[in-house]
């Protein structure tokens, strides 16, 4: 779809002062654009195992797991917040461990089992106890950080670090919530922990 109005790029190009200077810097290295063909870094074939399904893909080596999930596999539940490993919105599981998809090169996780928020519910669509607890405890407002919070929370419980509210706060500190739903998130995790222990 073509935008009818002026594009963001055109608007930026017309700006002056500091932003023009930074644009000139970016313009000197057109290869930094995601769409430019990689000169030395040829595309590579990888197989990704996501939520129990195999995907044969041809990727640019620069692709992070987060971009591959969102742009190639249309799994947009994993969110791009900071894109620098500081906010936790992109948290997924690789080999059953919670990691940050924005700092994982896709090529480095090829062949390893990956679970995203889309793969957390049971085969029949039954919500994971953590998802249910987040709903029941109203553990979100805007919801943008929620998929990352839930994936991280499942990891937190499985690692055995959900023993108290203080321990949960410490071991969930890599997931920021700018709506500050933290008390409800902690309550949801404490509740889900008892349900996961039973399961």
């Amino acid at each position: 779809m073509k935008p009818s109005g002026p594009s963001r790029r055109a608007v930026l190009a017309g700006a002056s002062g500091a932003s023009a200077a930074s644009l000139a810097l970016a313009g000197a290295h057109p290869a930094t654009s995601q769409t430019a063909p990689p000169a030395p870094g040829a595309d590579m074939a990888v197989t990704l195992e996501v939520n129990g399904r195999s995907h044969a893909l041809t990727i640019d080596p620069r692709q992070t797991l987060l971009d591959t999930l969102r742009e190639e596999l249309a799994l947009t539940g994993s969110k791009k917040g900071c894109d620098h490993g500081q906010c936790g919105a992109c948290t997924v599981h690789v080999d059953g461990r919670r990691v940050l998809a924005c700092l994982a090169l896709t090529a480095s996780v090829a062949g390893r089992p990956i679970t995203t928020i889309e793969g957390l519910a049971g085969p029949g669509g039954d919500l994971h106890p953590m998802q249910t607890a987040f709903i029941e405890h109203d553990a979100f407002q805007c919801g943008y950080c929620t998929p990352g919070q839930i994936m991280s929370a499942v990891g937190c419980v499985k690692e055995g670090h959900a023993g108290s509210a203080a321990e949960i706060a410490e071991y969930m500190s890599g997931n920021l919530c700018r709506c500050a739903a933290y008390p409800n998130i902690v309550a949801a995790i404490e509740d889900a922990k008892s349900r996961m222990d039973v399961a």
Partner: protein
Amino acid sequence: MRPFDYRSAADPTAAARMGSSAAEPAYLAGGTTLVDLMKLDVMRPRTVIDINGLAPDWGKVEADSRGLRLGALARMSDVAADPVVRRDYPAIAQSLDLAASAQLRNMASLGGNVLQRTRCTYFRDVSWKACNKRTPGSGCAALEGVNRTHAVLGVSASCIATYPGDLAVALIALDAAVSLVGPDGARSMAFADLHREPKDKPQVETNLRPGELIVGFSVPAGPWTRRSVYTKVRDRQSYEFALASAAVALEMDGDTVRSARIALGGVATKPWRAREAESLLAGARLTEDLAQKAGRAAFIGAVTHGGNDYKPRLGAATVARALLEAQALEIAA
């Protein structure tokens, strides 16, 4: 991010060969520093060499009567959770627990962790022209810039960037050694010799040779390792770099210090051993007064730059607190 060739190394020899012959290479383990800095255009490797295939050999944690051996590809979270590390080398476990976030600790390797790059904002933001570490000879924007988080020990006129890590502080306090493999074979060195002060070459941060890889770390056993702590002071309670930190290991005879090992983080350009403070303590009765005196001794050579004028006082208090916490530790027989 700039284009690069992605390669995987199946064994250490192949990795070291690639790392010494490929064009502008960088090793990839956890990727938590490298991918971040590639996105920021601070690191620009043309070849990324994935060494995670070496993990079965290099991911181990082993302890016996001689000491502790940590593989370079062991992940921070796994080492922090190891019961022997927690019981016998608590400063190491605490330095890992208090670092980064749970997700980052699941990703990051020990070898990559000790080699993580500074958080100096001028280094990380390429729109600043002056950074001798990034562009040798360009100057240092931090000297007269916003330098609240910058180093006060080991600084030079070229660079005051703080070494940001935690684990390295515990390792240097505990007299660790680091083993390496490179294109010319294996060698080992004192961990204290791995990092360099910036002096007039802040772009050279370690004494690693081209292509050399960290294989692992060894920490000698001793009666002080169980009586060790890592104390970290920061702007928020969790998930933040140290403004000041201290790793302390004590060998006590009642209230008298037989030997003290003290290292500092968050205040120096490299993992910093505080020998002046240690020598004050040896043979003396450890009181709160002496702990504070030792803390101040650790910062006698401090040089501040305005924003970080508070650091010698904060650092001294951190050392004192760590000493008293180590003294108070109850150690099971």
